[in-house]
């Protein structure tokens, strides 16, 4: 266990009588890109703040490379943070912002300037040193915040939903860039996000949070394909959750299972269902054309809805919109069904 970058040992954090983090035990490996994924209020940001030292655990311990840091102030931790609102100092220019950590450490001015320039190169903002933070766009501020954190050579970089304020294009671009920078500097990144796509794109491993607890830790593929709990199945990607009578009618067993929308195929009512597949009949209630793919909402004959996603490989919007109201049969391979345990936590609607 000595090579763990960060280790949470039964960490709990109360705010007044609210348990924001509830007995979390977790290990983040050295040099990995780890995402803490969860809806707001799930405890992921509080966990990040406890690594940074802004909050202290009410109970339990946090170890950074084997050292118990639970009671260490932020300025004594080899950790730096990129804040959600960037938190750039408005009374300093970009270069002074980036060199702030060095200035605090009393590094000589010439050295400071040189290293700040290097960081500006790394985040692809050369020549921006003399500007004020207010003169930068959101994406540029983001890079400055990143440079300011990385200049101190932290062993762990914490990122608190840093891409939340950016538009979609820029966000996708920054996702790739962040991942590249992480490979380049080779340190541990802990990334907090509520965006499952973001987590899936960048992470080596993902920890899914809900209600102050860790639901599942695993690689993106593991979390997506083998959700450990109904919550994970619902939160990571879209998932159809079927249980009780309906589950019995389809699979012959009442145990709860999940099926991803993209694994379901829409076929004609009279199409045969072979041994390897499950099938269910229903009526297309809604069709949402999304360009790249189409999302169908199918009302099953026995009650309940299933979301189905099909790529628009050959069909046009005219074709797919005509499907509304049609009686159809749905089928999917048995191997794509995940039986998810009977944990009480429900996925968010």
């Amino acid at each position: 266990m000595t090579d763990a970058a960060i280790r949470f040992e039964n960490v709990t954090r109360h705010f007044a009588d609210v348990k924001a983090v509830d007995g979390v035990t977790l290990e983040i490996r050295d040099a990995e890109f780890f995402s803490m994924l969860g809806p707001s209020g799930s405890g992921k940001t509080t966990c990040l703040r406890m690594i940074a030292g802004f909050d202290r655990p009410s109970a339990g311990h946090i170890y950074l490379y084997g050292q118990d840091v639970s009671d260490l102030p932020p300025y004594e931790r080899p950790v730096n943070t990129v804040f959600q609102d960037y938190a750039l100092f408005p009374h300093m220019n970009v270069e002074e912002n980036i060199a702030y950590g060095l200035m605090i450490k009393k590094v000589a001015k010439a050295d400071r300037v040189k290293r700040a320039q290097e960081m500006l190169e790394l985040v692809r903002l050369p020549g921006y040193g003399p500007r004020r933070p207010t003169q930068l766009s959101g994406g540029q501020r983001q890079r400055v915040a990143l440079a300011r954190a990385l200049i101190n050579h932290p062993r762990v970089l914490l990122l608190d939903e840093p891409l939340g304020a950016l538009d979609l294009k820029l966000r996708q671009q920054m996702q790739v860039e962040l991942k590249n920078i992480q490979k380049q500097v080779g340190i541990t990144f802990v990334f907090v996000t509520h965006d499952q796509e973001e987590a899936l794109t960048m992470s080596d491993r993902i920890g899914v949070f809900s209600g102050g607890k860790v639901e599942q830790v695993g690689s993106p593929a593991e979390v997506y394909e083998h959700p450990a709990t109904p919550f994970v199945a619902g939160f990571v990607g879209t998932s159809n959750l079927i249980e009780g009578e309906m589950a019995r009618r389809i699979t012959g067993s009442p145990s709860r299972f999940s099926i991803r929308p993209e694994k379901i195929h829409i076929v004609e009512r009279n199409a045969p269902i072979d041994e390897s597949s499950f099938g269910a009949d229903g009526r297309v209630r809604d069709v949402i054309y999304l360009g790249l793919y189409t999302r169908y909402l199918v009302e099953l004959d026995g009650g309940g809805d299933l979301v189905v996603v099909e790529q628009n490989l050959k069909s046009t919007s005219m074709d797919v919109l005509r499907a509304k109201g049609r009686q159809v049969r749905l089928k999917w391979l048995k191997e794509h069904v995940r039986y998810v345990g009977a944990r009480d936590a429900e996925p968010p609607v």
């Binding site: 940074a52 030292g53 802004f54 102030p73 932020p74 300025y75 950790v79 730096n80 943070t81 804040f83 959600q84 609102d85 938190a87 100092f89 408005p90 009374h91 702030y100 950590g101 200035m103 605090i104 450490k105 300011r148 954190a149 101190n152």
Partner: protein, 301 residues
């Protein structure tokens, strides 16, 4: 009709803007700047010492008179008083404002707001007079010192030159205390507002980047609160420079600028000298603001 007017103004936003801004602008130019100009003009006239009439002829004589040693002493006395009062107000107001902005729970904050502004609701003169009861020879303060058997301390303090006197109320310390009391709210409110506008994440970021709390204070909190400190000190400084009531009721009878203006204008009708006296605080304030700007107080604005 009204509709047509609305539509007309909607299509011509500049006309609307002009209509809105013109009345207050006229008021401002005529009453504020006009009065200042009239004063500046008057300070270049002089008083005929024989007839007591103002001579409407451009001269620098009044300024020459202003620069006599006794008058310079008044400036010096008033300015050092204003500086001490301002510094004391900053020292008291900053921690209080910091607590209000950062730590006080909402209800306590509302209460503190009220407590700070409450004195402003009652008459300034009454509050100043009530300090007489506190500071007089047989007043509450000396009684308290007597009660805990340290009246020797008070006596020894009053023996000191400059700050001392026969009792607290006739010493310059008395003036100082009353000034600090009455101007304090004007310092607390702007500092509190400035601190309120410093996001918590900036303080956290500073700590995150390795700064100890004291370093965070000097490098982040203070520079960002400086506009508030400057705004507050403009109040305390200029109010002290111009006040004539407190120096009349407290202290020995030595002149302060406000009292001098009152005497020259009211008693002896020497409007030019009174006007010239008033230019003093204006010049002092301009110098102060230039220094503040040089120190970067307005960088984050």
């Amino acid at each position: 009709m009204l509709n047509r007017l609305s539509n007309f103004l909607y299509r011509r936003p500049r006309v609307l803007l002009a209509l809105l801004i013109l009345p207050p602008l006229i008021w401002f130019v005529v009453v504020y700047l006009g009065a200042l100009a009239a004063m500046l003009l008057n300070s270049f006239y002089s008083l005929n010492g024989f007839t007591g009439q103002v001579v409407h002829q451009f001269t620098l004589n009044t300024y020459a008179k202003l620069l006599q040693p006794t008058n310079l002493q008044i400036f010096w006395r008033t300015t050092t008083m204003a500086i001490s009062v301002t510094l004391a107000c900053i020292l008291i107001a900053f921690p209080l404002s910091y607590y209000m902005a950062r730590f006080a729970p909402p209800r306590l904050k509302t209460f503190m707001y009220l407590a700070v502004t409450l004195p402003l609701w009652s008459s300034y003169v009454v509050r100043v007079y009530s300090w007489q009861l506190l500071l007089a020879q047989e007043g509450v303060v000396s009684w308290l010192f007597h009660l805990i058997h340290i009246d020797g301390l008070l006596d020894a303090y009053l023996q000191l030159p400059v700050v001392g006197g026969t009792s607290l109320s006739v010493s310059s310390t008395g003036i100082f205390l009353v000034f600090v009391y009455i101007w304090l709210p004007y310092m607390i409110l702007p500092i509190q507002t400035a601190l309120e506008r410093v996001p918590k994440s900036l303080v956290e970021a500073s700590g995150d980047l390795g700064a100890k709390p004291a370093q965070t204070f000097w490098n982040v909190i203070l520079p960002l609160a400086l506009p508030g400190v400057v705004a507050g000190s403009i109040f305390t400084f200029s109010l002290t420079l111009g006040d004539f009531i407190v120096p009349s009721l407290f202290g020995n009878s030595s002149f302060f600028i406000g009292k001098a203006v009152l005497t020259y204008q009211g008693t002896s009708g020497n409007i030019p000298l009174a006007a010239a006296f008033t230019m003093g605080p204006i010049v002092i304030m301009i110098v102060y603001l230039l220094i503040a700007r040089k120190l970067g107080a307005f960088d984050a604005l």
